[in-house]
């Protein structure tokens, strides 16, 4: 069975330095997959390759279906309104694809602030706009780069809930790139661990969560006690 | 500051190559003028003076990292200073020595507020300064107004009056050699290296305690002094100055030559000025042949400046001299500097 995303033997170099080295990664249709790793492990590079913003030195990437990205740091159009931010998310889909109703249905919290400047919103609101903007592309797979970064735990819980229901209701596949390994392993089915540009480990999220190496490096040394 | 600015660094790599170039230039500057036919001597004087200003522009752009679109203003200040002093009876040699000083003082006064600006803001600010100067000169009756300053005496050195073009060719050569020598010392100095670092990361250089602001102002003043000195020779050589002699296009020409030769190199501006001036002269000769329309020289020289600048910036961004140096190094790897 092939996936929505198929990455084979991907190598990326930035002016000589190797950022990704022979990475293999698969996301199947309707699957929640986590990519965890420390700062500088190459996670963001992988996202940029998937979005076509960086060209690989070698290897293949196949994306079957529509991919939309929630970029790290939210990357709002700060001087534009929430509504304009969302509409621009549907830029590729033409005029008809810029109807924002389905996003407001999903995030009713955005309705009262739809005319506000996106740059003036709180981090949690911005992350909601960023997810909504990505959903405007009507994607089959959502690549979420650092969902929890800089957000309060309560807000992260809400956002995770949204991702769960998107997956459950619409069969959306998600590739979640996260520094918070506990959150990622908790939400996702499978996970990959990226270290210095290579895939160090991969497998079922539950298995990885019990793996002492993962626990030591990414979960603060405590193996979660799960039945 | 001056000690730091002028102390040569121990790194001899650029120094040794530059010394050969300097020797070559000096021989060329001394041997070439007598061999040139009379009508080409004027071109040679023009070349040497233009190259002198370009050395300063190259230093400013390559080391202070700033585009100046108003360098002709300092050329004009030097020329008018020398011209006015001479017209009012000041010995011409003293006038020539004062010209760069006055230009540098003007640069310090203008630079103190203006060098807070960066990039395109500074480019437009320097352009504005030149336009203001031209407008003021055109309205200043004491400087000849729009008609110009006439009757400037010729340059007299130790009782010997320079009447022939040959004398001015030597004077211009001397001025150019001086500018190149000073530029070389600045480039290999501690301040030069600090400025080069600042051109890439200003905050890092500032954080390391380098007085970038003062160095930058010093380079600005130095480049103005070079322009002023060349302007002084220009005033005595032509004997007549008007605001129209210093158009904005002249400032752009200096930038073209500096970019073509290679910013922040020692020989680049000289090579750039030579290439552009020879090219324009050759095309001028073609354009003034019988049968060519009257506008041909202007059209061709504009086209040369434009095309050379655009092609260089896009395809040879480091300039002619560094590109040639790379090419020769590729064929002779043993001469690679350590």
């Amino acid at each position: 069975m092939t996936g929505v995303i198929e990455v084979r033997d991907l190598t990326v170099r930035y002016s000589g330095a190797t950022a990704l080295d022979g990475v293999d990664l698969t996301v199947h249709a309707g699957e929640l997959v986590a990519l965890i790793g420390a700062n500088g492990a190459g996670k963001s590079t992988l996202v940029k390759v998937l979005s076509g913003l960086v060209h690989p030195a070698s290897g293949t990437i196949t994306v079957d279906g529509r991919l939309a990205q929630v970029p790290e740091g939210r990357e709002m159009f700060g001087d534009l309104t929430v509504d304009d931010n969302l509409r621009l998310g549907g830029w590729r889909n033409g005029r008809k694809g810029r109807d924002t109703t389905h996003v407001y249905d999903l995030f009713p919290d955005l309705i009262p602030i739809r005319a506000r400047r996106a740059g003036a919103l709180s981090g949690g609101q911005q992350q909601m706009v960023a997810i909504g903007r990505a959903l405007m592309a009507r994607p089959d797979i959502l690549v979420v780069d650092e969902l929890s970064l800089g957000l309060a735990p309560l807000i992260v819980t809400t956002l995770v809930g949204h991702l769960r229901s998107l997956h459950a209701d619409r069969g959306l596949a998600v590739l979640l790139i996260e520094q918070n390994a506990r959150l990622a392993l908790d939400l996702c089915h499978r996970a990959y661990v990226l270290e210095s540009g290579r895939i160090a480990l991969h497998g079922a999220a539950a298995d990885l969560a019990r793996d002492p190496r993962v626990a030591a490096a990414y979960l603060g040394g405590h193996v979660p006690v799960t039945p | 500051m001056t000690a730091g600015l002028l102390r040569p660094a121990s790194a001899a790599g650029t120094g040794r190559a530059a010394r050969w170039w300097l020797a070559g230039f000096t021989i060329l500057g001394l041997a070439l003028p007598p061999l040139l036919p009379e009508r080409h001597l004027a071109t040679f004087v023009l070349f040497a003076l233009t190259a002198t200003v370009t050395v300063g522009v190259s230093l400013l752009m390559g080391y202070a990292g700033q585009v100046s679109l108003g360098q002709a203003a300092f050329y004009a200040i030097g020329a008018y200073a020398a011209g006015l002093l001479a017209v009012h009876g000041v010995p011409s040699l003293l006038g020539l020595l004062l010209a760069p000083v006055i230009a540098a003082v003007a640069a310090v006064l203008l630079g103190a507020p203006l060098l807070r600006l960066r990039g395109h803001h500074l480019a437009f600010a320097t352009l504005a300064v030149q336009l203001i100067l031209l407008s003021l000169l055109a309205q200043a009756d004491w400087a000849g107004g729009a008609i110009g300053l006439q009757g400037i005496p010729r340059l007299t050195i130790l009782g010997y009056e320079l009447r022939e073009d040959l004398g001015y060719a030597y004077a211009a050569s001397l001025v150019l050699a001086l500018a190149v020598l000073i530029a070389r010392n600045v480039i290999v100095s501690r301040a030069g290296r600090a400025l080069r670092a600042a051109a890439t990361s200003e905050t890092a250089a500032a954080a390391s305690g380098v007085p970038i602001g003062r160095y930058r102002l010093a380079v600005f003043a130095l480049s103005a002094a070079m322009a002023g000195l060349a302007g002084g020779v220009y005033a005595y050589y032509l004997g007549y100055l008007s605001p129209g002699s210093f158009p904005v296009l002249l400032s752009i020409e200096f930038v073209v030559m500096a970019v073509v030769g290679g910013l922040g190199t020692i020989t680049g501006p000289v090579a750039g000025a030579a290439v552009v001036i020879v090219l324009v002269q050759v095309l001028n000769t073609l354009a003034t042949r019988p049968g060519m329309p009257g506008y041909a020289p202007a059209v061709l020289s504009y086209a040369v400046y434009a095309v050379v600048l655009i092609l260089c910036v896009l395809y040879l961004p480091k300039g002619l001299v560094p590109a040639l140096r790379r090419a020769t190094r590729a064929t002779a790897p043993d001469r690679r500097q350590s």
Partner: protein, 286 residues
């Protein structure tokens, strides 16, 4: 009093020209980060072509439209050369547009010669508030005002305008949502060219044009644009009008001298104050 009204109206007419050049600069700078030095050339090219078309017997309106179209095409060409190569930095692009401005000199002198040109605009004299001013100044204001309203509507209310704003707001995010940033940059150059061209055809009947008139236009346009930090078109508009009025007032009450200096000194002051306010680069401790 009637003098003042006259100066104000002619100032607004001249200022509208600066504002058009300035807002063209702002549109291009917002989207591409490039300060387009060739902006004044669009006005000169458009004015020169219009004079030729009118001379060939084309009616007013058609000839001016031809001029504006040439400005837009010239804008696009400048854009292709200045930002067409991937990885061209805005600083490099500035030098390239500088070169293209000089190249425009060659083309203009080749086709139209180096003598000043003009063409008749709206003839007649209007009397407003006791002031008699050439009617063409009112035409400039009457054309420029709806153009600015259209621009405001275009950038705020159309998806294409939003996409252009998106490029200036966050280039990376624009690429993430699939906006072709380079193509938007070229569109900005096209719009900038048309705005420059419009400035040229509108102001030439009251201020004749030579191939090197672009310097005055670009400097005044930049002065207008810099008031709004090169990013806010509305302030560029206000800045242009202010400059125009300030210049006619100085010329009117100051006897014709020093009107160039007014704009330039104003521009220098604004830039230095802005640099001081934003702090610029911190001076190292002595």
């Amino acid at each position: 009093m009637s003098d003042l009204v006259g100066y104000l109206l002619t100032g607004l007419g001249i200022g509208a020209g600066f504002a058009l050049v300035g807002s063209g600069l702002v549109v291009i700078h917002r989207v591409t980060g490039v300060v387009n030095f060739a902006q004044g050339s669009f006005a000169v090219l458009a004015a020169l072509l219009t004079s030729t078309l009118l001379g060939a017997g084309l009616p007013h309106g058609v000839a001016e439209a031809g001029g504006v179209a040439l400005g837009a095409v010239a804008g696009l060409i400048v854009g292709v050369i200045a930002i067409g190569r991937p990885g061209t930095s805005p600083g490099t692009s500035l030098i390239v547009t500088l070169g293209l401005g000089v190249l425009a000199y060659a083309i203009e002198v080749l086709i139209w010669g180096d003598q000043p040109r003009s063409f008749p605009g709206l003839t007649g004299v209007a009397e407003i508030g006791g002031a008699r001013i050439p009617a063409h100044y009112l035409l400039i204001i009457a054309v420029a005002a709806p153009v600015f309203l259209f621009l405001a509507w275009f950038f705020a209310r159309t998806d294409l305008g939003r996409a252009l704003s998106a490029c200036s707001s966050n280039r990376y995010a624009a690429r993430v949502v699939g906006i072709d940033v380079r193509r938007m940059g070229l569109l900005a150059f096209l719009i900038g060219g048309a705005l420059g061209g419009l400035a040229g055809v509108l102001t030439t009947p009251v201020q004749q044009v030579t191939f090197d008139s672009d310097v005055v236009l670009i400097v005044n346009g930049f002065a207008a644009a810099v008031l709004g930090g090169l990013t806010r078109p509305v302030i560029a508009l206000a800045g242009g009008l202010l400059l125009g009025v300030a210049q006619t007032l100085t010329a009117g009450y100051g006897g014709g001298a020093y009107q160039v200096e007014v704009a330039l000194v104003l521009m220098l002051t604004v830039m230095i104050v802005q640099a001081a306010r934003t702090g610029g680069i911190p001076e190292p401790a002595r």
